[in-house]
Amino acid sequence: MLYYSSTKRPLLGLLALLLVGAIMILATGNTYTLLILTLVSIWTVLGLSWNLLGGYAGLYSFGHAAFFGLGSYTVGILFHDYSVTPWIGWPLAALIGAVAGILVGYITFRLKGPYFTLAMLAYPLALLSVFEWAGWNELALPMKREGGFAYMQFGDSRIIALIALALMGLAIWISIRIERSRFGLALVAIRQNELAASAAGLPVLSWKLWAIAVSGAMAASAGGLYAVVLLIITPQAVFGLQVSAQALIVTMFGGLGTVWGPVLGAVILVPLSEFLYANLGAALPGIQGVVFGSAIMAIILIQPQGMFWAIYDRFAVKRTDEHPTVQDVTLPERGRSPLSVGFPLLDISNLSLSFRGLRALAGVSITVKEREIVGIIGPNGAGKTTLFNAINGFIEINEGDIKCAGSSLVGFKPEQVAAIGVARTFQTARAFPRLTLLENVVVGSFMRYSDDKLAIAVALNALTRVGLTDRAYVPAGSLTNHELRLMELARALAGEPILILMDESFAGLASEDIEGMLPLIQRLRSDGITIVIIEHTMHAMVRLVDRLIVLDQGAVIANGLPSEVVKDLRVITAYLGKRWAEHAEA
């Protein structure tokens, strides 16, 4: 499911699915069968909506019923109280779903992982009691004897089944377009490593908000249609936990993070549970819940990624010819004209920050000049990585200022810092393990190029610069540590930075690999990039850097030529203790 692979095959699949669906609908006259087919479409749409957040962005919601229910009640209330036809109410429902999505997302995206999941639960349940309290306990859509068509009421149930099918087709089409675009890739990157994604310049919050807006609109349109089909809605039926659970279950059962997952899940589970309910429902009223509940338990224990991936892994022919062609793209001449060598590029003044009283940085002032290579050393816990985190916007500073190329970075989000041209790599390489190298790297060039072809060409070029061209289509999870370090560097380069912050880029590398990286970094400098590097490998550092800065307990204790710094008494004391310093003196 590469983001740059063509949409031709999935669209053909969609066409086939719609064709089969339409034939089934037209061939049957049985109202009950048609109702089930309609419900399959509706639950597929709700599943697709859930999949956008849960499958791609990894944000598992227990509250999609909020959007579904709002959609139902928008259509219902407009029709019942204001005689507005569902033809108008339905699109309005989608709009309200999108707005609700943005609101909910804006509040709830501050929470991560299971806390997000549980917080989402609160929305539909709160709405449920509000709607009960407001007296919409059982809302019946009025029947129109004449002119039913104008109110989405048809004598022939096949028409409404076809409308549901069309909605499902639209939702699948939208999902395919998202899956194979930078939108989809951005969501997957955020799921796999949110910090790395934001450091590479992805505006994490806005991508998530886009996702929940589309998701909310889809869920609300499914809910709106549900009201039209069932004609009677109750808060429990549309806001209940069962609705949220079913959205999650059809998706996870069918397959997470693929458009075909929700389709597969709904096609299997909805008719099964309806059939059992119709035959055994009188004796066993909760049979649907038991079916859905056991289905999801089984899938989590046996095949956590869902049915689709089990089938895919066994039968799919791995296609290797889906590589993008970039021959016809000429790389843009980019980059600002470098300031004169020696101009102060990064200017940190009096930077302080503390974690709950623990002082991590105390009045650090550092200036890095254009095209300089500056090394930062210091004992563990000296505040080196914290300094990088402060520069690139991961943590807020308490005092002081950070200027890069003249503009202050204080208060900037990581992606804004990246946009200014400050890239970084991480102490433990942060890859998006299930994406290919090229996909990993292209995330970095998104912020510079809105054209996908250009972005890919730039990413490939960055891979060439670090010498990983032949690994471009390998998933990052299978790389060696050395290759991961190079990949991170390539991702940094793809954003066309003016400054790269490298955090222990040699950690765990064999000495011949380190030898290979030294000329690479020097080449970057001659390309006009300034480099600040944290590293413990002193023999490499003294040959690489122009200047060494030593941090100890959050303060700069030495700053100068490597040969001078290693003789500095305070530095020796910091690393080895007082007694050794006395030794060195003697």
Partner: protein, 318 residues
């Protein structure tokens, strides 16, 4: 006159808030113990509790021949349910929960939280709907003679302000406090309790010093389920329940656990107590039906504005 009745309502709600809150506190303690020790979010906790309520309902209906002895038999049912559900939780952990928790998921992306949540969501659906099949949707309760008796205090102020305190609720609150105190002492002063706290603090390091982490988890899960069930059975003496009741309580329980500071077992009791108070006192200014909406709003607010208890630190280690 009007002022006096406001005072009376306030006192009435305050006392019932404290009493119900003590029960919520015990409920939260069960969930908090599981989260604290295992870092597992058990979504089925409320439904397991409802199963326990049905067990007690059937047991009491079966043994108690006349009204006068129901209260006594209910107390027996509390003890039995506690033991039975300890075993049940133990078995559940062995066959299901342990497959997505413990050492085997410690290294996963999100420490296995999503599979745990989803597995227990499935479990919750199965229990709810199986209960619906077995017991139907009519609300049940375990009425004891004390359920309709109240102590009358007053006049407290002038000759108008009276306070009525329901006896069944009071007894269950007292028992809840006693049970919570016993648990706290167990965790603090017994070897097993200390092992469980060690496993909670640092599972890997605990294995180095010879703590059987899986056993600790199993006991914690059983104990957590049992404690919540005990709270549920006592509550069944004054509050009707039906198969879907667990859903209503899951958010109440989480609100309490989060408020108490996730992972702080003792704190969860106070968290539950506060939630009970908030729920009761909210009716002073809000319509009764919006009680649960208030709880959800409080829950969201806690998650958003007081996440310190949750995450420890805001920034992931880079």
């Amino acid at each position: 006159m009007n002022f006096a009745s406001t005072v009376e309502t306030f006192l009435q709600l305050l006392s019932s808030g404290l009493i119900i809150g003590a029960n919520y506190g015990l409920m939260c303690l069960g969930l908090g113990l599981i989260f604290g020790v295992m870092r597992v979010i058990n979504f089925a906790q409320g439904d397991l509790m409802v199963l326990g309520m049905y067990f007690a309902f059937i047991f009491v209906g079966w043994v108690a021949s006349d009204q006068t002895t129901t209260f006594l038999w209910t107390m027996v049912a509390v003890g039995l349910a506690g033991g039975l559900f300890y075993v049940f939780g133990n078995v559940l952990h062995r066959v299901l929960i342990s497959r997505v928790t413990g050492m085997r998921v410690a290294a996963l992306e999100d420490a296995g939280h999503s599979p745990q949540l989803i597995l227990t969501l499935g479990l919750s659906l199965v229990i709810q709907n199986a209960a619906l099949m077995l017991f139907g949707s009519t609300p049940s309760s375990i009425p004891t003679p004390l359920s309709s008796k109240a102590w009358k205090f007053g006049p407290l102020w002038g000759d108008q302000v009276y306070l009525f305190i329901n006896q069944a609720r009071t007894w269950s609150a007292i028992l809840a406090v006693v049970a919570a105190a016993i648990l706290a002492n167990f965790l603090r002063h017994t070897s097993l309790g200390r092992q469980m706290r060690a496993a909670a603090n640092n599972p890997v390091a605990s294995t180095y010093v010879g703590v059987d982490v899986n056993r600790s988890h199993r006991i914690a899960f059983g104990l957590g389920v049992a404690i919540t069930t005990i709270a549920g059975v006592m509550m069944a003496t004054y509050q009707p329940f039906q198969p879907y009741t667990g859903q209503d309580f899951i958010v109440i329980m989480y609100a309490g656990v989060v408020l108490g500071g996730m992972g702080s077992v003792g704190g969860t009791f106070w968290g539950g107590l506060i939630i009970g108070l908030v729920q009761q006192l909210s009716t002073l200014v809000m319509p009764m039906q919006l009680q649960s909406t208030v709880i959800f709003a409080v829950f969201l607010a806690i998650l958003l504005f007081m996440p310190q208890g949750l995450f420890g630190r805001n920034v992931e280690r880079v």
